[in-house]
């Protein structure tokens, strides 16, 4: 078996407690060694292992999910009754702005990044991403950016301009607190994380594939994640421009959005939505990828029309660039623009519909297993279809003009983002949990989690269609009994239902936490998962659970799409075996028999594994460089000398990074007293 870097335990704990004063001069930094520990907090803070980075992404994203959820709960409490008094108007504005910002930028995107980081190298048979240190940089930039953004709550209040922060409404006269500054700078920072991650993961997908892993053999999640990274790559700079202009406007008195000077208020809207519409696909495509993995496994059938799913995903990626102005139909673009964007918007429903058909036909005639992951995947298909259909009603411009800024819009995008994005992410959690943590999440609590969430979301967002069509505007902090209407369409009733639904949904999330606790608490009775709990199909399963630091004992050679399936099963079509007569089955012409278990396959891989596996050493610099960014950002808001301090840290980190060798020095692993003999251990 291969050993990659020396585990700390082998040196009797000496590595754990490091005393700089005894370091040899040959240590990497003279007085500081490379952080080579494989246990303890250092092994996480300075890691460059894509799996640890993925887990940290996920943990931080879930924390922000809870923060955003609390914000959502407060919003719904405020609106439960007429003339709500839970929040002041000012706090209400901050709450819905920060709820959306947190959920989109600090939960869904990083959660998708968590899966992408963890799964892409495993799915393509690589030992890590293309640039492991850049990967660590992405993580820490995101973490510091998210924390920075949320410190605004304690420093004069959060941003209050709505998540699209239309300028000039977000300029100082209309939003005098520092909230918008925190928002703009915070998104700028997390944008850097996304951009760096995009460059890294695209390079990984294109260039780090195992032998035989052609693009059309890549697992579908990796494909969708790659499309998302392309969207991020090209969309992030657009919002970067807009955010810079907003920052300069607010902090350095630039005039980009000063209408008195002749500024065009549509400038921000265009820049925001040129970014913002691809962003919608950035949110849902990773989940589409996840359910495209989950559905075949639990239907015991290959994904129906893999090339169609791939190309429709890519098509969504492209067409997504041509529809941004449908967010601006009510802003007076002029009839020609509205007509063009209206048609383009209807067109993008086509590739999305292709995907839904593919998923449905994947399940058609399959032997369905209703595990929690499968339930979430089916939930996505149903809920996203509802959101997609209300989306088509927006593409019709006259209809959209009526719906704009009402709760109908809120209903639509929650069905899309929660129904399409979040349900898929939960499906991914249940599906890959045994891969990542070696234990299946408790199915009983998982099913509670699913049903409470799905009922909760429909109770919450379903009534919003009604109250929206009744004319309740979004972002109003109160509604009045006087205008609530009568009978079935009474706003009071449906607002109360929505609020109750929110708490049903919250209970569902609590059940998720219970499932995690029950699975992992000390003394938990949940047994370790088998290597192949779901009879899975793709390459990430062809290693231990959780995977070793180097992922694969030897680099796999890939011969087919669904490589693991084809290693486990042999096609015995034509041999004397009972036929499956049902013509609807996609595999009607193929009969497979199981010839190997995953345990056997992995044991064989282990036996033939590489002698020396060489992984890059951890590094201090990513987290140091990431730390410099919020320092600079605080400097922009409060005092310019902090900018200089932050910049100095950044320069130090960049030069440290550039001069750092790939491998830790031998002396980094050893306290100097231990000498040669134990050094050998590092090379077993």
């Amino acid at each position: 078996m291969a050993i990659i870097e020396r585990p700390a335990s082998e040196s009797a704990g000496a590595v754990e407690v490091y005393d700089p004063s005894v370091a040899t001069p040959s240590s990497s930094y003279g007085f500081l060694r490379r952080p080579v520990e494989s246990t303890g907090w250092r092994s996480w803070a300075f890691t460059v292992d894509h799996k640890k980075i993925g887990i940290m992404y996920g943990v931080v994203a879930m924390v922000f999910f809870i923060v955003g959820g609390i914000e959502a709960g407060l919003i719904r409490l405020q609106l439960a009754q007429p003339e709500g008094t839970v929040l002041s108007a000012d706090y209400y504005n901050q709450m819905f702005t920060m709820h959306a910002t947190t959920m989109v930028f600090l939960f869904v995107m990083p959660m998708a990044a968590a899966f992408a980081n963890y799964m892409i190298p495993l799915q393509i048979g690589a030992r890590d991403v293309a640039f492991p240190r850049l990967n660590a940089l992405s993580l820490w930039v995101f973490v510091f950016g998210g924390i920075f953004l949320n410190t605004s709550w304690f420093l004069g209040g959060g941003a209050d301009g709505g998540w699209f922060m239309y300028a000039p409404n977000s300029d100082v006269p209309f939003s005098p607190s520092n909230g918008v500054d925190f928002w703009a700078l915070g998104l700028q920072i997390t944008g850097i994380a996304s951009l760096v991650g995009a460059v890294n993961l695209i390079t990984t997908c294109l260039n780090m594939r195992a032998p035989g892993m052609s693009l059309m053999r890549m697992p579908i999640f990796t494909w969708m994640a790659m499309v998302v990274q392309f969207l991020l790559l090209f969309a992030m700079p657009v919002i970067t421009v807009a955010l810079f202009m907003l920052i300069f406007q607010r902090n350095y008195d630039a005039t980009f959005f000063s209408v008195a000077e002749g500024a065009d208020p549509l400038l921000w809207q265009h820049l925001f939505w040129i970014f913002g519409h691809p962003e919608v696909y950035i949110i849902v495509l990773p989940s589409f990828g996840i359910v495209s993995e989950v559905l075949p496994v639990f239907s015991k059938k290959p994904l129906f029309g893999y090339p169609f799913v791939v190309f429709s995903g890519a098509a969504i990626g492209f067409v997504g660039w041509g529809v941004w102005a449908h967010h601006m139909f009510a802003s007076g673009l002029g009839p020609v623009s509205v007509a063009v964007f209206s048609v383009a918007t209807m067109a993008i429903a086509v590739p999305t519909g292709v995907k839904i058909i593919n998923w449905t036909l994947t399940m058609w005639g399959g032997k369905l297993q209703f595990t929690t992951a499968m339930l979430f995947a089916i939930g996505l298909i149903v809920q996203f279809t509802i959101g997609g259909l209300s989306g088509v009603t927006h593409s019709v411009a006259p209809s959209d003009t009526q719906q704009t800024d009402t709760y109908y819009i809120v209903a639509h995008f929650h069905y899309v983002i929660f129904g399409g994005g979040v349900l898929g992410l939960f499906a991914g959690m249940y599906y890959w949990w045994p891969k990542i943590f070696g234990k299946c999440l408790h199915e009983g609590w998982g099913k509670q989690n699913f049903w409470w969430m799905i009922v909760g979301m429909n109770l919450t967002f379903g009534p919003m269609h009604i109250i929206g069509l009744q004319g309740q505007p979004r972002r109003m902090y109160q509604w009045t009994e006087f205008r609530a209407g009568e009978g079935f369409f009474n706003l009071g009733f449906w607002n109360m239902v929505a609020t109750i639904g929110t708490f049903v949904l919250a209970i569902g999330v609590v059940f998720w936490m219970i499932a995690v606790w029950v699975t992992h608490r000390p003394g938990s009775k949940v047994p370790p998962a088998p290597l192949d709990p779901w009879d899975a199909r793709s390459l990430e399963w062809m290693t231990t659970s959780p995977p070793k630091p180097h992922n694969f004992d030897r680099t796999p050679t890939v011969h087919a799409l669904d490589e693991v399936f084809h290693r486990k099963y042999e096609d015995v079509t034509g041999e004397d075996l009972p036929e499956f007569p049902d013509p609807a089955r996609a595999e009607a012409h193929h009969n497979y028999v199981k010839v190997a278990t995953l345990e056997e396959i992995v044991a064989e891989e282990e036996r033939l594994g590489d002698e020396h596996v060489h992984l890059p050493a951890p590094s201090y610099w990513p987290i140091v460089l990431a730390f410099s960014l919020p320092v600079i950002a605080y400097g922009v808001i409060y005092t310019s000398w902090l900018i200089a301090v932050g910049a100095a840290i950044a320069v130090l980190a960049i030069f440290g990074w550039a001069l750092e060798p790939a491998d830790a020095e031998e002396s980094d692993f050893e306290p100097p007293s231990e000498g040669e003999s134990s050094k050998e251990l590092a090379h077993v």
Partner: protein, 229 residues
């Protein structure tokens, strides 16, 4: 593996035959930590270097950044006071000269890459230094131009035109400044032998960035300076 799974096409396994030391060694490398020795274009699926791929992706992304800044300027270029607009401010001969300087720095940059590919480190360092000097000259020209405009009454906050002009050219100037730091750092690291990766590739990457900055100026020179508002 072929013991476990029957696969007629498993001859490709030879490539990573663990019995062969070379192949085992090949399979044993994880991610390209430094953009250096690992990825000489031979370990990767496309046969291309990771760093180069990443650099081109980054430059593709930068197109959208400068596109946004240029569009904002184009939208706002006419929105200024009657006294200080492009017509009063532009000094075409001066800007042409500094554009020419930046253009020629692209030539010296490509000569540096050419030198390092011949393993001629001495000349490479020389050309890199010349490139950085020309970049510095361009930047000095920009500082001079900004101060002149400011004296003539064009403050950053004065009009939509001034904000968008200074922001666009300022972003470009910042890119040039970063490029100069990269060039000089490369010279220093070459001299001290501290480049952790492939030397030729490092110089080539700095070059790609530098040429891109030059290309952006080609656009700005025409769209901002030569085409009348």
């Amino acid at each position: 593996m072929s013991d476990v799974v029957k696969d007629p096409e498993s001859d490709a396994v030879d490539v990573v035959d663990p019995a062969g030391e070379v192949a085992a060694d090949r399979g044993a490398h994880a991610g390209d930590h430094h953009g250096g020795h690992d990825d000489h274009g031979h370990h990767t699926s496309l046969g291309l270097s990771n760093v180069k791929l990443a650099m081109w992706l980054f430059l593709g992304s930068e197109c959208l950044l400068f596109g946004g800044l240029i569009s904002t300027y184009m939208l706002y270029r006419n929105r200024h006071s009657d006294e200080v607009g492009p017509d009063q401010l532009w000094d075409i001969p001066f800007t042409s000269a500094s554009s020419f300087v930046l253009l020629m720095s692209s030539l010296t940059m490509v000569l540096a890459v050419s030198a390092i590919n011949r393993r001629d480190e001495r000349n490479c360092r020389l050309w890199l230094t010349v490139t950085a000097t020309l970049g510095g000259l361009f930047l000095a020209g920009q500082v001079y131009e900004f101060t002149t405009f400011y004296r003539e009454g064009l403050g950053y906050t004065d009009s939509l035109f001034s904000s968008s002009f200074y922001t666009l050219t300022g972003f470009h100037g910042a890119h040039v400044a970063i490029g100069i730091i990269m060039l000089l750092s490369t010279v220093g690291m070459l001299a001290k032998g501290r480049i952790t990766g492939d030397k030729g590739e490092t110089v080539e990457m700095v070059g790609l960035y530098w040429h891109f900055v030059d290309v952006v100026w080609i656009l700005i020179f025409t769209l901002v300076y030569l085409i009348p508002a």
